[in-house]
């Protein structure tokens, strides 16, 4: 064998990334097992092991169950289902395939979006006996949403419908209708049987009426949209390389276009420009570099560039530096998405805090209808407006997948809870800037002779928050301290009278109060806030609005039983009878503070004593 030639050939093989989607029993794992088995990408000992396991868990009698070559985790093997995204590899003489195998259950839509985000082609499996199902609609929608442009519809289990041509054509017609508004560049339909191997690698005589190519031939011949080189250059800076005082390079992976030595570059917010001095690729100096290449760039003149910045050529008009934009979201967490809640947005090369300000509509992925909604649940898809706490350079997803995509992270538990695709930038905020006043917080607090801060009381309804806060304010007042008490019930009569008690409204309620308390601290006041404030996330948001040492969380830790026994306003009784909905502690959650600055026990101390505890605390913190 001539190895040089062999490697040349290996190297010329196209890389094709495939997503497989199908519902539970469409035979997806069997098809994948078939692809691996027939392309001879399975080793003898793996087959032996699958044979052993086939006897134990298999569904194919004495025959080897090809699905068992695929299903990886023990638990799912025993249940006979795939529960997560798995990656598979096989090659033919023309292509190297990387397959993302994702489950078809309704509750695992998030996994499909995950697989789709890194795929060029989607194989959509349809069981010939069942035809187009709701799941087929859902899968096709996600494939389109994530920007996959090539779809192969594999109509499987043809052996179980006697290779009936009419059934095949009926499904094709139905599917064409389904995707008429989608943006697929190519759509291919193949009748096959994964179990028997018909039309998977070679065409099969039982389907003589089908004259098209087999599944593998179809996949090998798809012209995957290669990067459009008319697209202007952009590269998010990932890492600044300072190996010595005279070497300063910007490392990153090119997100669009092409760059050559000497090209003039800039950054989205900067007026200055310079040119490329050198390009270093993985194998040393290059004259030019392209999309998806990891490079290090050096510049003729120094610009102020760090991680989070984007280097681009001046003709690049699609990339804008903004703090608001509209995007499609896929929600991936059990905890619902609530507008105005604080989340971390992970972009290509930076993490920025922000909020989803408007939930424009969610989309029913079975009927493709747009629906007005107040929150998003696991696997919901929606169109939203998002505001960031800091400006960032973005591009529409359809122009630039790298700069147009983001994931959402819960700042509390660091879980990945959502993913988004930017539709377009919103420029409305750039004209409003924060006015710097000449009299500020410091000058006011000097005049007042006190350190302004927020004392945030949280606890169940009837726990004693307002009683203690009221006594505390009296005590501070006699000490000549300037104070203000924001009380939940009182604020709901005015500023927040448009809000109800759903989770969404509770978040907005606290957001407004937090913003008001921030202004009051700016005014130099010791601000007492007495709100149930049931969610950790909003209490953290309030804390994050203020500076270190300006926010103290006081947890009034009266138990639910005790509050219900006291029931000063008769609310628990109403809630228990169902007369009052969304009542905290009864049918709405209260999340106990994990790191309160002060925990007050109303069982062992009376309100007067507890207020004194707070006074002592404030003295120790040098607030008063």
């Amino acid at each position: 064998m001539d190895l040089e030639k062999f490697f040349q050939h290996q190297n010329n093989k196209k890389q094709v990334k495939i997503l497989t989607c199908g519902s539970v029993d469409d035979g997806k794992s069997t098809l994948l097992g078939r692809l691996l088995y027939d392309s001879q990408n399975v080793f003898v000992d793996q087959i032996d092991q699958a044979k052993i396991e086939s006897e134990k868990y298999g569904t194919q009698g004495k025959d080897i169950d090809l699905a068992l070559l695929i299903d990886g985790l023990q638990a799912e093997r025993e249940q006979g289902i795939t529960i997560d995204v798995a990656y598979r590899f096989f090659e033919t003489s023309k292509c190297k395939f990387i397959v993302a195998d994702t489950p078809g259950h309704e509750q695992y839509t998030r996994n499909m979006a995950t697989g789709a985000s890194n795929s060029d082609v989607a194989i959509i499996l349809i069981d010939a006996q069942k035809g187009v199902l709701e799941q087929t609609k859902r899968h096709s929608f996600i494939v389109n949403l994530l920007g996959i442009q090539h779809v192969v519809v594999a109509i499987n289990k043809m052996d179980l419908v006697n290779y009936d041509e009419n059934i095949f054509h009926k499904i094709v017609t139905e599917y064409k209708e389904l995707i008429k508004n989608f943006h697929f560049i190519s759509t291919n339909y193949i009748p096959l049987s994964a179990l028997k191997g018909d039309n998977v690698f070679s065409t099969f005589e039982n389907t003589k009426w089908y004259t098209g190519p087999s599944l593998i031939e179809t996949l090998e011949n798809i012209q995957i949209e290669e990067e459009d080189f008319n697209n202007s250059f952009s590269m998010p800076v990932q890492w600044v390389n300072r190996s010595s005082s005279d070497f300063r390079g910007y490392a990153g992976t090119i997100s669009s276009g092409k760059i050559s030595k000497g090209d003039v570059i800039t950054t989205p917010s900067s007026n200055s420009q310079t040119s490329i001095k050198n390009i270093y690729g993985p194998n040393g100096e290059l004259d030019e570099a392209f999309t998806n290449q990891a490079v290090t760039l050096t510049l003729q003149d120094e610009l102020d560039i760090s991680r989070g910045d984007i280097i681009l050529t001046q003709d690049n008009k699609k990339i804008l530096k903004v703090d608001q934009f509209a995007a499609h979201l896929v929600w991936m967490d059990q905890d619902s998405m609530l507008p105005e809640r604080n989340y971390i947005f992970r972009f290509n090369n930076t993490f920025i805090n922000g909020q989803i300000t408007d939930l424009v509509h969610s989309i029913n992925i079975n009927s493709y209808e747009e629906i007005a909604t107040k929150k998003l649940n696991l696997n919901d898809i929606a169109y939203c407006k998002i505001a960031l706490n800091k400006m960032h350079s973005i591009a529409p997803y359809k122009n630039n997948h790298q700069l147009g995509s983001f994931v959402i992270i819960d700042p509390y538990n660091n879980k990945t809870i959502g993913a988004g695709m930017i539709d377009h930038a919103l420029r409305r905020s750039t004209n409003i800037s924060w006015h710097e006043m000449s009299i500020n917080k410091n000058t006011r607090s000097k005049l007042n002779g006190q350190q302004p801060c927020v004392i945030w009381f949280t606890g169940l309804s009837g726990s004693g928050k307002s009683t203690i806060a009221n006594i505390l304010e009296q005590k501070l007042h006699t000490m000549n301290k300037r104070t203000y008490l924001l009380d939940g019930d009182n604020v709901r009569h005015g500023l927040n009278k448009d809000l109800g008690f759903t989770d969404t409204d509770r978040v907005e309620n606290i957001r407004r109060v937090a913003e008001v308390s921030k202004l009051m601290v700016d005014a130099g006041l010791i601000t007492l806030v007495s709100f149930i404030s049931p969610f950790r996330s909003e209490r953290k948001m309030a804390k994050d609005l203020l500076q270190e040492g300006e926010f103290f969380e006081v947890f009034v830790s009266t138990s639910l039983e005790e509050c219900e026994k006291r029931d000063p306003k008769g609310l628990y009784k109403k809630a228990r009878s169902g007369e009052l909905k969304n009542f905290t502690g009864i049918d709405s959650t209260y999340e106990i503070p994990e790191n309160a600055d002060l925990v007050l026990d109303t069982k062992t101390n009376n309100a007067e004593e507890l207020a004194d505890q707070i006074i002592n605390f404030l003295e120790s913190k040098k607030i008063i």
Binding site: V44, L73, D84, E227, T253, N292, Q293, Q402, F406, N414
Partner: protein, 299 residues
């Protein structure tokens, strides 16, 4: 110009390695001395050139590695001027834990899994690179590139963070850590092809040579030192053998082979019918055993 398959993999891995250096406070590269580690180290050197690696390397030494591996490790560390840490579970050494006396399961747990956890805790590493690939084993196929571990270093396969595009979630709480696998999308043949193309140095044990071996439990074991405890009925023979994976020598079976160069290995590989982990005793302890080990914190 379109990138070739290997160029795509190379850039993807470099991106992953740089991301860890940018986002974590105290990352480390687990260096197992094998061919995958060699490729991973090679990619890391490229990612930060001309700078030095911005993190240390860690080798968890079970004290039962082939002698040639240890020599190779030290040679590479001095050739590339690397900061190499070596960690041994001294508790295990004190109790004379070994694969022959205690079996592969206990030995691997104490000298490898527990030792790794000790080292991560000792140096407070928040991210650790590993050279594992998704094509190696079925349960690996489901692991993320950035794989989250709790404070006990446990992996929860049902609770993995979704991983979209190349937007890796690097956020963790204190005491938690992340295992990062830059070679996730490489296959065995990709790795060999890259070693060939880039002329990467690998441990000579990968190449066929006459070596003293005995046959034990269907594995051909190399007599690397006296601790193998060769029984009277076991005959030491000199055979042309090489190793497809490298681990503790009493647990790593040799294969008979004539492949003396990377080229010959690739040809052999293409013609071979047995997958890579076959030579390892630890995988077949029980069905699904790799998954169990990983949940307990094995790399």
């Amino acid at each position: 110009m379109n990138l070739t398959h290997l160029e795509k993999l190379e850039s993807e891995s470099i991106h992953i390695i740089r991301e860890v250096a940018s986002e974590f406070e105290n990352p480390v590269m687990l260096y197992s001395i094998g061919k995958d580690s060699a490729v991973m180290l090679h990619l890391a050197l490229k990612a930060f050139a001309p700078s030095k690696l911005p993190f240390k390397l860690l080798h968890v030494d079970t004290t039962w590695k082939f002698r040639e591996m240890i020599k190779f490790r030290d040679d590479i560390a001095s050739e590339y001027n690397l900061d190499l840490l070596v960690h041994i579970n001294e508790e295990g050494v004190k109790n004379n834990i070994g694969p022959i006396s205690h079996g592969s399961k206990l030995h691997t747990d104490v000298m490898k899994t527990q030792a790794l956890k000790q080292a991560l805790d000792k140096y407070k590493f928040d991210a650790a690179f590993g050279g594992a690939r998704r094509d190696e084993e079925k349960s690996r196929a489901k692991e993320r590139v950035f794989s989250f571990r709790d404070q006990q270093h446990h992996w929860d396969p049902k609770n993995q963070r979704p991983e979209l595009w190349n937007l890796y979630n690097t956020k963790i709480a204190k005491g938690e850590n992340v295992r990062v696998f830059p070679l996730s999308n490489w296959t065995e043949i990709d790795v060999w092809q890259y070693i060939y193309q880039e002329k990467i140095n690998i441990v000579p044990l990968y190449f066929a040579k006459e070596r003293p071996v005995i046959k034990r439990d269907d594995l051909l074991l190399m007599v690397d030192d006296k601790r193998l405890d060769v029984k009277d009925h076991e005959k030491i023979e000199n055979r042309m053998v090489r190793f497809r994976t490298l681990g503790c020598y009493p647990l790593t079976g040799a294969i008979e082979s004539k492949a003396k160069s990377v080229e010959e290995i690739i040809i052999e590989l293409l013609e071979s019918k047995n997958s890579e982990r076959e030579g390892r005793a630890i995988d077949k302890d029980q069905i699904g055993s790799m998954e169990k080990k990983k949940q307990e914190g094995y790399f």
